[in-house]
């Protein structure tokens, strides 16, 4: 009833390939877009900078990781390292006088180059071995960031990021940072949405499903995997730069360590492999739920009169986080995105669902 498919007819080929063919979808996207634009007015600056901005930036990183993990089906343990490369490169770029936009792109390109060099060697192996190579990449990056003061200024030093400047205008303030994050996130989302309409997207799906079958029909799987790695690294690098400029304000090696990589992977899995809306939901879930559940548990413990030590409470978010990963993989391996699809499919034929098989 809500997602009415009746009355939709196409009179031209571009129409058949429209991104959102249902009116309900278009309306929803428009409403969300408007809300996103006026969010600083709706929510206070605190919420915007503490919740919305990081959520958007992590979502764009998750979308980038989804490109390699969900669309191309290649494991990537070292995405945080890629983000770190982009972040540090961008900071050094601005410090050396590059205009801010150029520095961001330079960060992305740096990450792409290093990602590609690595991928060129790593893509000769598959599956588990690829995963382990990316893990080794992450550790190597960790080591480099800790031991090469030229890049990071040392382990304990945080590298300050100058305030971002668009077209020469210095942007401070929470709101402008929010809009930067929003702009980048929208850019990546539009790219990913369109991916399935492009030959690249179709090739990636073919490679993911059965790469030798794809090779038989002429899809050079190595080249496409490399392209996927490159694109994904670019998105990751720029996302890393954005998170440092628009959220953290400074860069430290801990921000791009192995646990961040695992957190990103968890966001992808919980959100759903290959699902774009899932990336949004997965990022939100992992950012919010452990903290909220922790408060809930603390509150429950208080009600029950049980005393939980500070130590215990400090680790409960992690327990919940691990439990979430396990739970989602057991119950719904395709994540929140699939749950959303199920609801949507149900609503598409409601109230005539009983007529389905």
């Amino acid at each position: 009833m809500f997602y009415r498919q009746a009355g939709i007819s196409y009179s031209s080929y571009p129409q058949t390939r429209a991104l959102f063919s249902l009116a309900a979808d278009r309306r929803a996207v428009a409403i969300l877009f408007v809300i996103a634009l006026v969010a600083p007015l709706l929510f206070g600056p605190g919420t915007v900078s503490a919740v919305l901005t990081p959520w958007l930036i992590w979502t764009s990183a998750v979308l980038g990781l989804n490109l390699i993990l969900g669309w191309a089906g290649q494991f990537h343990f070292g995405y945080a390292a890629i983000m770190g490369i982009g972040a540090y490169a961008a900071i050094h770029g601005t410090r050396h006088g590059l205009p801010w936009e150029m520095a961001m792109i330079a960060g992305g390109l740096c990450a792409t180059v290093i990602g590609c060099v690595f991928a060129f060697a790593a893509l000769r192996v598959k599956g588990l071995y690829l995963a382990l190579s990316t893990l080794a990449l992450q550790f190597a990056m960790d080591w480099v960031l800790s031991h090469v003061p030229a890049i990071t200024g040392g382990t304990q030093v945080t590298l300050q990021a100058p305030p971002p400047a668009v077209l020469g205008q210095v942007l401070g303030g929470e709101t402008s940072l929010y809009y930067i994050a929003l702009a980048w996130c929208l850019l990546v989302t539009v790219f990913m949405l369109n991916l399935k309409r492009t030959p690249l997207g179709r090739a990636l799906v073919a490679v993911r499903e059965k790469d030798y079958a794809a090779a038989v029909i002429g899809v050079n799987s190595f080249r496409y995997k490399l392209v996927a790695f490159a694109t994904s690294s670019f998105i990751g690098g720029v996302s890393g730069a954005v998170i440092v400029f628009a959220y953290y304000g400074a860069a430290t090696p801990e921000q791009f360590a192995i646990n961040v990589s695992i957190e990103l992977l968890a966001m992808v899995i919980i959100g759903g492999l290959g699902s774009i809306i899932g990336s949004y939901m997965g990022a939100a879930f992992v950012l919010l739920v452990p903290g909220e559940m922790n408060q809930l548990i603390a509150w429950l413990a208080e009600m029950a009169g049980a005393r939980l030590s500070v130590e215990t409470l400090a680790h409960i978010p992690h327990v919940i986080y691990g439990a979430l990963i396990i739970g989602f993989l057991l119950v719904e391996p395709l994540g929140l995105g699939r749950m959303y699809q199920n609801v949507r499919n149900y609503l598409m034929v409601w109230p005539y669902g009983h007529l389905h098989k």
Binding site: G73, F75, L135, T312, H318, I325
Partner: protein
Amino acid sequence: MDFVLFAELSINGAFSGLMYSLIALGIVIIYKSSSVPNLAQGAMTMLGAYMVLAIAASTGAPLWLAVPLAMVVMFSTGMAIERLSLRRLAGQPIVMILMMTLGLEIFIRALAMAIWGAAPRRLPIGISDDPLFLGPILLNQAFIVGAAIAVALFAVTALFFRTRRGIMLRAISDDYTASWSVGISVERGIALSWALSSVIATVAGVLWGAVQGVDQSLALLLLKGVTIAVLGGLDSIGGAILAGILLGIFEAIASGFLDPVIGAGSRDLVVAATLIATIMIRPHGLFGRHDIERI
């Protein structure tokens, strides 16, 4: 070139390498039977050590009794973990399975921290801290005992795989369908291999807990375990021993000579470099089967 230092580093490195390869052994046993790379093996090691401490504390039993009791508990724990979490994912893409083991790793590690706190605890198993002297070479007693126990455990494992149950496990790792067709319960075999790996992890946890204390750093032994498993061949038990010795020596020598040059922590770099080099040059390791490249 200081030969005494070189020899000292090599011998101690070999012994510690043998202790690392216990973790690799657990990974290899699980991988052989169920094709699952168990990234939670480090967490299981840590859990085993904590279990020993918990049993000793709650029942007041002495350590030589608490360790076997913990092994029994971990046997069932390993079976339960496989039954509850991995069996559902049989046949799913390797991405999901890897994430599941990662999720288990995070969960078990955080649970241990939440229950027992993050402060390191001592696990004294009666080895004196005094070093042994072999001529001018200084040997760490804990490593000698640990290596001896590791070798004994490897021997027991090799003997196990000659028994009927062991042969059935090897059959399972060869061909599931053929195993079903002659009445071998593949599900029970996989559960058994997880249980055995947990028991081995417990022993490894005790040995390493005695050396470096029981806390979450035990879980970080995973990276060394995985590197050794890959270097030796993910489905080769003999390979795990040899690779462990090699990595132990390599790591000790490299950190002994490189640490002054490029700063502390070079042993992690050495491990990561070994992992990358193995995957690039010979992914199936020293003794692994060729076909396991095609996962």
